[in-house]
């Protein structure tokens, strides 16, 4: 019963209308907490104050990947269960995921300038994120070109899943390509050596960013459902006039 209710777009709209204000408030509060922690976090002994950029960079990178995961799940929903809400979820996630991937690239580049002395280095991690951004652009281009939403959704779902399978291969290839040409001689966010005083606000920021993504995604899904409703009504309008 509950599942069927949720799957119904009209019910979904009601649910989204009720949830969105709360989500927005929760996002703002978590950001306030996370930003407060980020601004008061101590400087890193290697990176200095530029570690503050990491509070934006790392959550954006996470959201870039999270967005693609979300789209992959939605793609399964589109292809396996033929569910219209899955179409909507996939389409709404693409521009948001692309935007955060872009933010990850820009903040990474701004972090890199003081660290590397240049805005862009073909570093394995940043390059992989760049390829992810290109994949996002491909999906967006596909959505923009498709005239009929149902067909566009299926095409984009296939592309999303192909991309999901390909991403690990791309990551491996890029790593290999990078080490082949030059050993990386850059400062890295080491996996285990992060100080708790930095880790704590980083987590808070990651949660805040995720809440932001969910809020935006829900709002974008609502818009998409309305857009499809507009489309259906316009078709009826054109037909109605023809038969009148």
């Amino acid at each position: 019963m509950a599942v069927i209710d949720f799957a119904n777009p009209t019910r979904f709209l009601k649910l989204a209308n009720r949830l969105l204000p709360w989500l927005a408030v929760a996002t703002v509060l978590t950001f306030a907490y996370g930003l407060n922690g980020a601004l008061h976090a101590p400087d890193d002994y290697q990176q200095g104050a530029t570690v503050k950029i990491m509070f934006l960079h790392v959550p954006s990178a996470w959201l870039g990947m999270f967005g693609w995961m979300l789209m992959s799940v939605a793609a399964l929903g589109t292809l396996v269960w033929r569910h219209p809400l899955a179409d909507v979820a996939g389409k709404a996630a693409a521009p948001i995921g692309a935007a955060f991937t872009l933010l990850c690239l820009v903040t990474g580049s701004l972090w890199g300038r003081p660290m590397w002395g240049t805005y862009w280095v073909w570093d394995a991690r940043l390059t992989s994120v760049l390829v992810l951004f290109l994949l996002y652009l491909g999906v967006l281009a596909l959505y923009w070109t498709a005239e009929e939403p149902g067909r566009g959704a299926r095409a984009a779902a296939i592309l999303t899943l192909v991309g999901a399978v390909n991403i690990p291969i791309i990551k491996f290839s890029v790593d290999w390509w990078n080490t082949l040409h030059q050993p990386a001689s850059v400062f890295r966010m080491g996996g285990s050596s992060i100080d708790p005083s930095i880790l704590h606000p980083l987590f808070a920021m990651a949660i805040a960013f995720t809440l932001l993504f969910v809020t935006l995604h829900l709002a974008a899904m609502r818009n998409e459902i309305l857009r499809r409703r507009v489309r259906a009504m316009r078709l009826i309008q054109a037909q109605g006039l023809a038969s009148a």
Binding site: S109, T118, Y119, W120, V121, W122, T127, L130, V131, L134, L137, L140, A141, W144, T145, A146, W177, N178, L180, H181, Q182
Partner: protein, 222 residues
């Protein structure tokens, strides 16, 4: 002039509205540029050396491949017939479409080119100059490509044929575009002469391109 403006505005509007048409060229440009380091390696010194060449090649391919459907859609839906019953000569109508294409496809290329130059380790102070060479050179590419787009309608083909027809014609533009860009970065040759020739090529193409394209279209529609 009203007809010219109407056609120009319509094409801009269509490019912005239909399938992100205006951004496709910029995306293609970005992808071509990003692919290059995977082929030649991430060595920044090497990339800095060949950066202007990559930017110019990418910009050229993006401009020309986006031209593919410039006349084909108007031909298929009958718009081209009506365009010829207008009060401006076909040459001017063709020029209006070319200007619209330049505004929606080439201008975004020029705008993102400094960013891509940055990724290719082109010197920061030369980024603006490289963008300037693209700004001055892309009209030549558009208006030369115009002839190919018109011939593609005549031959009812597109895509690669257009590139094969047009790319050899754009060699001078590429030579002087890259020469001007390199002069801006490294010297010692001055920036002025190749840039002036580039501008001259653009001006000549803007005048001659529409005439040739209109002739090709008249032939195509018989």
């Amino acid at each position: 002039m009203k007809s010219f403006a109407a056609l120009l505005m319509r094409d801009v509007r269509l490019a912005v509205r239909v399938g992100g048409g205006a951004l496709m060229g910029a995306m293609f440009f970005l992808i071509v540029v990003v692919m290059t380091p995977f082929a030649v390696g991430p060595n920044l010194r090497l990339l800095g050396l060949i950066g202007p060449a990559i930017l110019w090649l990418g910009g050229e391919l993006a401009t020309l491949l986006a031209l593919d459907r410039l006349f084909a859609t108007d031909h298929e839906d009958g718009s081209l017939d009506l365009i010829r019953t207008g009060e401006i000569p076909l040459e001017l109508a063709v020029a209006a479409k070319a200007v619209a294409h330049w505004l929606t496809t080439c201008l975004p290329l020029v705008v993102i080119s400094p960013l891509l130059g940055l990724m290719l380790n082109v010197e920061a102070r030369a980024l603006g100059w490289v963008a300037l060479t693209l700004l001055a050179g892309t009209p030549a590419l558009t208006f030369i490509g115009l002839v190919g787009a018109a011939l593609a309608v005549a031959l009812r083909r597109g895509g690669l044929l257009l590139a094969i027809l047009v790319l050899p014609l754009t060699i001078p533009v590429l030579i002087f575009g890259v020469a001007a860009a390199n002069a801006a970065i490294a010297g010692p040759a001055p920036f002025g002469p190749p840039f002036t020739i580039l501008c001259a090529l653009s001006l000549a193409s803007v005048v001659l391109g529409p005439v040739a394209a209109a002739a090709a279209l008249r032939y195509a529609m018989e």
